[in-house]
Structure formats: structure tokens, C-alpha cells
């Protein structure tokens, strides 16, 4: 059995780690944490910037896209005629995404518009998602797909990736198909 001093030392080590962690948190206060809103605002700004390159009445003029509840969208994973589109960017896509989703950050979408190429069948129901409940990035991407690339039916995942996690939706790390 470990001696009493072992546990006292253990408590001291944990205390030291906690102090260091607090210092690290304080030092990283301006960091774009995944749970913080500024991160989302930054992503949305990126999306807006990408769309601004496009001669665009689209960006904020069109009506908001309809949403789809995460619980309903879960049943559509892998269904024919449904395409999920991940607007979050390559790193986060690689760390985990909705199975079968296309990785389509806003900047890439702007390039698609320029080339008028579309990796999605136009008749598919497109479900766009980004990081958070604010959905700004997914809205921007979804509108671009609808207005400029001919997708007929585009919806935005309500609650974004957070909402998907909240309902325990399936995740994968498989690389993008095709």
C-alpha cells in the first residue's frame, strides 16, 4: 500500500497542475476556443469575405434558408438523394464529421462558383452545417449553393455540429468520397 506521504505528494502534484492549467487558460484568453463565440464570428467573417469576392447581391439579400432539426437529419445519413455539406474547414472535418459529408469550406465554395463546378447532384437535398448554433457559415455556404450553383433544396442543420453531437448523431473520420 502506498504510504500517506505518497497521497500528500499526489495532492501537491495535482494542485501544481491545476495552478499551471489556470495560468495556461489565462494566457490563452484571446485564443479562439472551440466553445467560444468569437471563433464562430471569425468563421462567419471568413464566409462573408469569400462570398464578397462574388459579384454578389446574394450574400445578405436572400431569405434565410430553412433549417432541419438534427434529430430528423440523423435519419437521412446515407440516404440516396441527400448530401451533407461540412462548411467548417479541413482540420475540423478531419477530426470528425457527419458520415458521407462533403468538405466544403466557404473559400472552396467561392472557387466552385468561379469555375461553375458542383460536386453535388442538383436534385439532392443539401444539408449544410457549420460549427455552432449560430449557423452563419452554413447559411452563407447554403445560399451560395442555391443561388449560384443550382442546388434546388438546401437546408441548414439546426444547432450545427454542436446540435448534431447533442443528439448523438453518427460521426466518422473517413476521408471525403470521390
Amino acid at each position: 500500500m502506498p504510504r500517506r506521504s505518497t497521497f500528500l505528494d499526489l495532492a501537491a502534484l495535482v494542485g501544481l497542475a491545476a495552478v499551471l492549467a489556470a495560468l495556461r487558460l489565462a494566457a490563452a484568453a484571446d485564443l479562439a476556443w472551440v466553445a467560444d463565440e468569437p471563433d464562430v464570428l471569425e468563421s462567419c467573417a471568413l464566409a462573408d469575405e469569400a462570398l464578397a469576392d462574388d459579384p454578389g447581391e446574394v450574400r445578405l439579400a436572400g431569405p434565410s434558408l430553412p433549417g432541419i432539426a438534427a434529430a430528423d437529419a440523423v435519419a437521412m445519413v446515407g440516404q440516396p438523394g441527400v448530401t451533407f455539406v461540412d462548411a467548417r474547414g479541413g482540420d475540423r472535418y478531419a477530426a470528425g464529421h457527419i458520415p458521407g459529408a462533403l468538405c466544403l469550406p466557404a473559400a472552396d465554395a467561392a472557387a466552385l462558383v468561379a469555375q461553375q463546378t458542383l460536386p453535388i447532384p442538383p436534385d439532392d437535398l443539401v444539408i449544410a452545417y457549420c460549427e455552432s448554433p449560430r449557423e452563419g457559415e452554413a447559411q452563407a455556404l447554403g445560399r451560395l449553393l442555391r443561388e449560384h450553383l443550382g442546388c434546388q433544396e438546401v437546408r441548414v442543420l439546426r444547432g450545427g455540429y454542436d446540435g448534431w453531437l447533442a443528439v448523438g448523431g453518427p460521426l466518422t473520420q473517413e476521408p471525403e468520397r470521390g
Binding site: P2, T6, A28, Q173
Partner: protein, 145 residues
């Protein structure tokens, strides 16, 4: 028997060095980019929203402090700390396997972002736990007993 005792000391020291190196390597990228580790923690779907950032800061400091202390006379306490962490990792990995979700482990930061949580990872952590036990043992006391 002196040779055996010396061998025991060598093995224990080797285990301490290896375990310390593993945990330093695990802690460094998380300390450099805690936001990425917070994102990995979130994917485990096992922790509440408010705890992601705190865990992303605390886990690597626990790893670092434990790794350094393992090379000091406090090694038994350090082994308890690192062993507890590794047991928690094993439980978490098992829960991911049971739930059937496919996520990146986040264990060593972005360098192995593509490394999936699954059986190989579980076995690796069990091996790590064995090394921690070896590092905590005191071969001199055993030899003299």
C-alpha cells in the same frame, strides 16, 4: 543477486524514462494548441460544454507535472497520477468503442489527428499502464527483502 538487483534498477529507470517521455510528448502539443485539444475533447461527447476548455488546459498540465515528477523521488505519487489518467483514458476509449463513434483521439495533438479511437489505442494505453506500474516499483527494496 547483486546483478539481478542492478537489472531491476535499470528496468525501473528505463520504464520511468519511457513513460515520462511519452507523457511529455503528449502534453507539449496540447499546451501549444489547447483549442485543438478542446475540439478533440468535444468529439468524445462525454463532457459538458463548460468543461471543454478547462479539461483542455488541465489534462496536459497533469501529464507534464506527472512526467517530470516521475523522474524525482516523488515517483510513486507521479505514478498514481499518471496511472489514474491512463485508467481514465482507457475508460473513455472503451466508451467510444461501445458507442460506435469514429473520432480522432487527440492524444498527441495534431500530429496524430488522423489516429482513430479504437482497439489498438486501448491496447496501447494498457501497455502504458503496465509501464507505469513498472516505473513505480522499487527494485532495491524488493531485492533487499
Amino acid at each position: 543477486m547483486a546483478d539481478r538487483a542492478q537489472l531491476g534498477v535499470l528496468v525501473a529507470w528505463a520504464a520511468r524514462l519511457v513513460v515520462a517521455a511519452v507523457f511529455v510528448a503528449a502534453a507539449a502539443p496540447k499546451l501549444v494548441d489547447p483549442a485543438a485539444f478542446a475540439a478533440a475533447i468535444r468529439n468524445y461527447q462525454a463532457f459538458p460544454y463548460w468543461s471543454w476548455n478547462a479539461l483542455a488546459a488541465l489534462v496536459p498540465t497533469l501529464e507534464l507535472v506527472g512526467a517530470v515528477a516521475l523522474l524525482t523521488p516523488m515517483r510513486r505519487s507521479a505514478a498514481l497520477l499518471l496511472g489514474g489518467l491512463t485508467l481514465a483514458f482507457i475508460a473513455l476509449i472503451a466508451s467510444v468503442i461501445v458507442r460506435g463513434i469514429d473520432i480522432g483521439c487527440g492524444c498527441f495533438g495534431d500530429a496524430t489527428a488522423a489516429e482513430s479511437v479504437g482497439w489498438p489505442l486501448l491496447l496501447r494505453d494498457v501497455a502504458l499502464l503496465a509501464a507505469i506500474v513498472a516505473a513505480a516499483r522499487d527494485p532495491r527494496r524488493r531485492a533487499s527483502a
